[in-house]
């Protein structure tokens, strides 16, 4: 099946433009924009009815991005780190809604780690997409919990703590769908997004999405030391130089590809090989741990298990969404009241 061309209406009669949102206010070259574009593309290709989808997010540059896709879908830009609870309520009130939730590594790994873990545990049906850049973009470049141990950034200094690996966290936490993508690998990202949207439970999609504003400049990477007393780079924090999008060219499953980021640092992405069995939980965990030990990031569908019931199933939600119940079904009868009161 070949995907439709953008200006041609898809099966629900919408062109690709109908899946767009407001103009992005993120930095040029920010990985988050690339991801938003792929969401638009995937929604268009999948013939998604915009009104059947909701967009949710926390707070951060990443969490702004739902404003920039699916403008015909409802959405809720919630609080920092607390999107999962909004999701839980919204999707229990209306379990027919499909959800694309966008969060950041600070949003889900730092302030929101608890809610992230608990929503995974409940297996709420949603695509839980983390746009992971290792920093707090919107507050100007502090380390988030996913930053590597020992990473040096010109503004934030040296990160003393080991990174929170959100894929391992999801796995240990009981997620049935755990995948990692890279903002620059559009083809893989689309595949993962499609699979995630089809999953009946929490589909965790950790997407490495470089921040172009708050990574080091290559020239200054090693020379920077914290504080006014030392050298400062030519550009100040208020200047974001023009950047190109990072685009990863096709690489084969099983291959490891090293990407050079804007700051000259390198990222080793190892694409999961064909024939990898994503249904073996312990193997998946081992694979993540081993890659971490080698300083690599595994990309692809890392774990898949559709056997756990979703929260809506656990709660035995019926055909009519709770939010759509009419008054007759919401307010019991006067008789019912009398029957109950007779007991007191």
């Amino acid at each position: 099946m070949t995907p439709p061309t953008p200006l041609v209406p898809n099966a629900v009669g919408l062109t690709k433009r109908d899946y767009g949102g407001r103009p992005s206010t993120l930095c040029k070259g920010c990985g988050h924009n690339a991801i938003a574009n792929q969401i638009v593309q995937v929604a268009y290709e999948l013939d998604v009815a915009p009104e059947s989808i909701i967009k949710l997010s926390g707070i951060g540059c990443s969490s702004k991005s739902p404003a920039y896709f699916l403008g015909r879908s409802h959405g809720f830009n919630a609080l920092h780190g607390r999107m999962p609870s909004i999701a839980t309520g919204a999707l229990t009130a209306n379990h027919h809604l499909r959800t694309i939730a966008v969060s950041g590594d600070g949003d889900s790994g730092s302030i929101g780690l608890g809610q992230f873990k608990h929503v995974v545990r409940r297996n709420l049906r949603m695509v839980y997409l983390i746009e992971n850049n290792g920093v707090y973009g919107l507050t100007k470049g502090q380390f988030s919990a996913t930053a590597e141990d020992g990473l040096e950034l010109k503004y934030a200094g040296t990160n003393p703590y080991p990174p929170v690996d959100l894929c391992s966290e999801a796995l240990i936490g009981g997620a049935g769908f755990v995948a990692r993508g890279f903002a620059g690998d559009a083809a893989q990202l689309r595949e993962l997004l499609k699979a995630a949207l089809a999953f009946d439970g929490t589909a965790v999609l950790d997407v490495v999405s470089p921040c172009v504003a708050f990574n080091n400049d290559d020239a200054s990477q090693k020379s920077y030391a914290y504080g006014r007393a030392n050298e400062v780079p030519l550009e100040d924090v208020g200047y974001v130089p023009p950047r190109e999008d990072i685009v990863l060219d096709d690489h084969e499953p099983g291959e490891t590809r090293v990407v050079e980021l804007h700051d000259g640092s390198r990222l080793a992405l190892s694409k999961i090989e064909e024939g990898y069995d994503p249904t073996d939980r312990i193997a998946a965990l081992t694979r993540l741990q081993e890659a971490e030990a080698r300083g690599e990031l595994v990309t692809g569908l890392i774990y898949y298990d559709a056997s756990r019931p979703s929260l809506a199933q656990e709660l035995r939600l019926g055909d009519t969404a709770l939010a759509d119940l009419p008054e007759e079904r919401l307010r019991p009868s006067p008789d019912a009241l009398n029957r109950v009161l007779d007991r007191y």
């Binding site: 407001r22 915009p50 009104e51 059947s52 909701i54 967009k55 739902p66 404003a67 403008g71 015909r72 879908s73 409802h74 959405g75 809720f76 830009n77 919630a78 609080l79 607390r82 999962p84 609870s85 909004i86 999701a87 839980t88 309520g89 919204a90 999707l91 229990t92 009130a93 209306n94 027919h96 809604l97 608890g114 809610q115 608990h118 409940r122 709660l315 035995r316 939600l317 019926g318 009519t320 969404a321 709770l322 939010a323 759509d324 119940l325 008054e327 079904r329 919401l330 307010r331 019991p332 006067p334 019912a336 009241l337 009398n338 109950v340 009161l341 007991r343 007191y344």
Partner: protein, 611 residues
């Protein structure tokens, strides 16, 4: 099968008889299971047609610490806390202080196995040899401790003149009609009764006599009533995190929903989710409210604090939500099992920036029911979080109540546009009616024209992010307008003016009961006062009129700082000099005696009478 019940004694000293008018306390340790005996005793008095009320004063612990169950029987219908005159002394740890605290003429029913009660000549003491009585009881050994409480139930029944068949009926009701349970307990009750009958000589004036003052009344807790009200309010979603004293509200909600809102095929038309904490609980409620469900949570002080950020979001993104705060004593973890009205100001202004929330203030279990459904109407009509502030006393204690009135208005789901009714130029925050409340749409609506991105950030009338000063001002001024609209949506105060009274009292919530009692006594003493019972914030003009009409108005409340008094002074600055504050908090419900003491300095004889 129990034998036919023996007749109660009939030889109380007639002279000083205290008929159906006394206070009693059962002193036990936590975890001993005395609650069933206590509630059965309460229910027995109720079955005698005598107005009665019970207050459980229990520790924040599961086993072994002192717990006191107060029962007040009052032929006049008073239900406020009153210092007890009769004591069931079953707790060795507090035996001394319990006995010491009795007034002269008081009565002790003492577990005779306890050693070392203080000797007081001015009390009447009855001994109950619990161990001995339990010796012959045929029950699993681990249940014996629990059953032992039934001995005092029987004995005090004898003492107060409660017929055994009344005790049996009460037991049956207490066990929800499950005869097996009655059969296991009743023999022990009878042992107590018979022991008293055989060994005790009635030497005190306290007894119960049949009346007809409880017909058609119920016995129910405020939390249960609130849950039932919410159920009839169409609650479809609740998220919560356990915390005393709000837990039983959600427990009851689940029960009522299970019974009343399950489809024939077993499908529930509701969900209750136990969240991982209160931040998540209120987040879930807002998510559900945004999606169109009637959603609520219940919490207490610490949980309220944790809900601050999300409540501010609810205010600003304009999402309906109902938050029950069953108040306990704060600040901080404070006294989790004691009552207070300490969260009023904090809840009202919860969240940074200029946030103001409606607060409903039920005073009775009837109002817990009523506000249980009304709160949803206010929340959806005003598209905003609504607090209902009750307290441990009202929420967890057992109160008499009229049968609850079925909701007299259909649900007010507020301004919701659906499908074709959504105009092509729809914008979420367009104040089309001028009342500050803009029509909303719901996610999942097939008409995509209604789509918007809800947010806690500054926005224009189309919900689009905006930092423009004029957008901020327009939006917050509309919110202020909405706040004025809310004044007309919330329950109005109850005003009871007294001719000739120059002093008014304003109160709210569960202190009402002590105030009513004190008021009757003070009026009888020639110092009447008018009473305005506030049922909600924000206030309406009735409060202004009330304060204007009196020389001085005293605001009575159960917190340290006089929070309502402060709020009223801010709201009615021109009248502030006329507002006085009476505020106290120690964890115990007010007694009428306390109210009298505190109010007396403020009162003046009614006009026309000599000073």
């Amino acid at each position: 099968m129990p034998e036919s019940p023996p007749a109660p004694h009939g030889d109380a000293p007639a002279s000083a008889a205290r008929v159906s008018d006394f206070s009693l306390v059962v002193s036990t340790a936590n975890g001993t299971g005395s609650q069933t005996a206590n509630l059965t005793l309460l229910r027995s008095i109720f079955l005698m047609g005598v107005p009665v009320h019970g207050k459980n004063v229990f520790p924040s612990n599961i086993q072994g610490l002192p717990t006191w169950f107060h029962i007040r029987a009052s032929r006049d219908g008073w239900v406020a806390r009153q210092d007890p005159e009769l004591l069931v002394a079953f707790n060795p740890a507090t035996l001394h202080e319990d006995v010491d605290s009795l007034p002269p003429g008081g009565v002790v029913i003492r577990n005779a196995d306890l050693r070392g009660a203080p000797e007081r000549d001015d009390l009447v003491t009855y001994d109950l040899p619990v161990k001995e009585l339990m010796d012959g009881v045929d029950a699993a050994p681990k249940l014996k401790g629990y059953l032992a409480n039934m001995t005092y139930l029987g004995a005090i029944g004898w003492l107060l003149g409660l017929p055994l068949d009344v005790l049996e009926t009460a037991l049956e009701q207490q066990f929800g009609g499950r005869r097996k349970l009655v059969d296991a307990n009743l023999p022990v009750v009878e042992r107590g009764w018979r022991h008293a009958d055989a060994h005790w000589t009635k030497a005190d004036p306290f007894r119960v006599e049949r009346m007809d003052a409880t017909r058609d009344l119920m016995l129910i807790t405020g939390n249960d009533a609130a849950a039932l009200g919410a159920t009839f309010g169409g609650a479809t979603f609740a998220a919560w995190y356990p915390i005393t004293p709000s837990t039983s509200l959600v427990d009851a909600l689940r029960e009522h929903l299970t019974e009343l809102r399950t489809d024939a095929d077993g499908t529930p038309t509701w969900s209750v989710v136990q969240a991982e904490d209160e931040l998540a609980a209120i987040g879930m409620v807002l998510g559900a409210g945004w999606a169109g469900a009637r959603a609520m949570t219940a919490t207490s002080g610490p949980g309220l604090s944790l809900m601050a950020e999300f409540t501010g979001l609810g205010y600003f993104a304009e999402v309906p939500a109902v938050i029950w705060d069953v108040q306990r004593v704060g600040p901080s973890t404070g006294l989790p099992t004691r009552t207070s009205q300490g969260d009023l100001a904090f809840a009202h202004g919860l969240g940074h920036g200029d946030a103001k929330h409606p607060v409903l203030l039920p005073a009775t279990v009837e109002e817990c029911f009523e506000f249980g459904w009304k709160a949803f109407d206010v929340a959806e009509a005003a598209q905003t979080p609504v607090f209902v502030l009750t307290d441990l006393d009202l929420g967890m204690n057992t109160w008499m109540a009229e049968r609850f009135a079925y909701p007299d208005t259909p649900m007010n789901r507020g301004k919701v546009l659906r499908g074709d009714a959504i105009p092509p130029d729809y914008g979420r925050y367009h104040d089309v009616d001028g009342d500050g409340i803009a029509p909303r749409t719901l996610p999942g609506d097939p008409n995509a024209d209604g789509a918007y991105f809800a947010r806690g950030t500054g926005h224009d009338a189309d919900a689009v992010y905006s930092e423009r000063p004029e957008h901020w001002r327009a939006n917050t001024e509309r919110l202020a307008r909405k706040y004025d609209t809310i004044r007309t949506l919330v329950p109005r105060p109850d005003v009871d003016r007294v001719d000739g009274a120059t002093i008014g009292v304003i109160a709210y919530g569960s202190t009402l009961h002590a105030i009513h009692e004190a008021r009757a006594a003070l009026a009888a003493d020639g110092t009447p006062f008018s009473l305005l019972r506030l049922k909600a914030l924000p206030i309406d003009d009735a409060v202004r009129a009330f304060v204007e009409a009196h020389d001085a108005t005293v605001v009575v409340e159960m917190n340290r700082d006089g929070q309502l008094a402060d709020l009223l002074r801010a709201d009615l600055p021109d009248l502030a000099p006329k507002l006085r504050s009476v505020a106290h908090l120690d964890g115990l419900p007010f007694s009428a005696a306390q109210i009298r003491t505190w109010l007396t300095p403020h009162l003046v004889p009614a006009k026309g009478e000599a000073a």
